[in-house]
Amino acid sequence: MYLFQTIKSSLDNLVLQKSRSFLTMLGIIIGVAAVISIMAVGASAQDLLLSQVRSMGTNLIGVLPGAADESGAPAAMFGIEITTLKYEDALALEKLPHIVAVSPYIMGRGTMSYLNNSKDFDYLGVGHDYVNVEETAVEYGRFIRREEVDSLARVAVLGSEVKKELFGDDDPINKRIRVGQVSFKVIGVMEERGVVTFQNQDERIFVPIKTAQKMLIGVNHLAFIRAKVDKEENIALTISQVENTIRFRHNIKDSAKDDFAIRSTDQALDILGTITQALKMFLVMVAAISLLVGGIGIMNIMFVVVNERTREIGLRKALGAKRKDILIQFLIESASMTLIGGLIGVISGVLLALVISISVNYFGYDWQFIVTPVSVFVSTLMAIGVGLIFGIWPANRASKLNPIQALRHE
């Protein structure tokens, strides 16, 4: 009865002073809405980033030319051309027990033309196993074969966008396109894959790796190698096997002199996950500051309330209320104010996150609307906590009032 009546009377007071209560709660509303929407946006951005990496394929390890510190980025990432990695290195990896598919990579950009249509696109020199490494497939026609890699065949598989640009609705199979000055026979069209690692896979063509090296670029090194491992638990083992294989091939005896670096997608996901998590937490902290400011507003108004109701406090004490009873009454009052503010904040925060996700999706990104029950629960709890913490001082002052003086208060 006591608790119920206290809550009821504090709600009555809130309703009685609508505009004052609303202004008091505004800080909490904004704070909670900010926390909720930032957590939602953060989770969505994190999901987008990770899904970009994940869609490259799971259980992948990459071999990059040039040495790298354990923690730092490989030199190749900074655009420095290192020519130590060769096609034969990729072939050697195929023989390792847990590797199910390997593809070497090299890329360039050129003008592709068919009849009168021409446009600049990226080309990717890859091995025959590329579709297995990246878990993709041809839509129709077929992919590059091993013999075609070895024989420097001039065949090309088109990304779906390239096909659309150059051929429109025509069937491109067995037609010839030009990449720069070199003529290629189209043997297949890739299925649509969209944006992976922030590159549109549909706006490129695929040619045999050696053909790209010799005829399009004029080099004999690789940009990198990707290999698919059969099971997640074999990744660590396979990385060390790959290290040994390449060291042996490059005649390296001291691991400090490695001229290559190995990364796994799981590692990349881990790092990316950690970074985005930290960013998310940082943003939530910033949002939480407005909760703090809101809490000071609550404290301020609670002092006013205590002052206004001094006589009531005196009366309650005269009728037998202990310090604890008065303390609890005012804590409940401030907590119910922040709880209501928190609930309004949750609703506005969710709506805001929804609006953001709708507008980002409108621009073509696969932006999930993610509001976790945890974030709702945590921010509601935070709102109540703010009410309790910032209510303590005024409630404590109320509880210490001398009943005689309080009763005489005008």
């Binding site: 006591y2 009555d12 309650r316 009728l319 005689i404």
Partner: protein, 238 residues
């Protein structure tokens, strides 16, 4: 013996300036007595009532209430005894304006544990009926007249079955008719055996009691039975 006070003093200390309010007061109140305390302002009658009502602590002397030495009770115990053993009636009623009459009456019960909600509610309704206010039960207290509010306050004072009713100028804010009604109720309660201590500065109100105490400069200067007791139902003479 309900109350036994011996050589009670109370000093107010403000910035090392000691102001004595009570300078050695001694008297006893028996079960079922109706005592009026009179005196001009500054005589110490309010201070005396606050100490008897456990709202304030004494400086020296002794105070026995219902056989217990009350001079050294701590705050917790004082709150508890205010809740259960005494009922207050104030000059300005002190009802909470925004809650119903019934909730006002039940206010002291929320600070008392181990009460049966249903029983206590029935009791409140019965008492409100007794003072003729059962039809006003669901009204908010600020919709009531002064006399009605004071009657609600009397019911509130009775709800926890106190050993002593303390009334501080109970008719001070009322017109004579409402004042008469309130005094009638107090006299009825006294007839039923309730002990009442009433502070007033109006002689004709004091003469409704059975015993009059007069305080002057913190001392009892007069303590006598009221020989010619007024009955409030016959009308209060001015």
């Amino acid at each position: 013996m309900l109350i036994k006070i011996e050589d009670l003093t109370k000093d107010y200390i403000d910035d090392e300036l000691v102001t004595p309010a009570l300078r050695g007061v001694s008297f006893e109140i028996k079960q079922g007595e109706f005592v009026a305390v009179m005196g001009s302002s500054g005589s110490g009658k309010s201070t005396l009532m606050h100490i008897i009502g456990f709202l304030d602590k004494l400086t020296s002397g002794s105070y026995f209430f219902d056989g217990e030495d009350a001079s050294h009770f701590d705050d917790e115990k004082l709150a508890d005894i205010r809740n259960k053993k005494v009922g207050f009636i104030f000059q300005s009623y002190n009802l909470l304006p925004r809650i119903s009459v019934l909730d006002n009456v039940l206010l002291p019960t929320i600070y008392a544990n181990d009460l049966n909600k249903k029983e206590v509610k029935e009791k409140a309704i019965k008492l409100l009926d007794k003072v003729g206010l059962s039809h006003r039960m669901e009204h908010r207290s600020n919709q009531l007249s002064g006399g009605e509010q004071q009657r609600v306050a009397i019911v509130r004072a009775l709800i926890n079955d106190p050993r002593l009713i303390l009334a501080d100028e109970p008719t001070g804010n009322l017109d004579s008719k409402s004042g008469q009604e309130v005094m009638e109720i107090l006299q009825d309660l006294n007839e039923e055996g309730h002990a009442i201590l009433m502070v007033t500065h109006e002689k004709y109100v004091a003469e409704c009691s059975r015993r009059m105490l007069e305080l002057k400069d913190g001392k009892v200067v007069y303590d006598h039975r009221v020989d010619n007791r007024h009955l409030a139902k016959d009308g209060l003479e001015k």
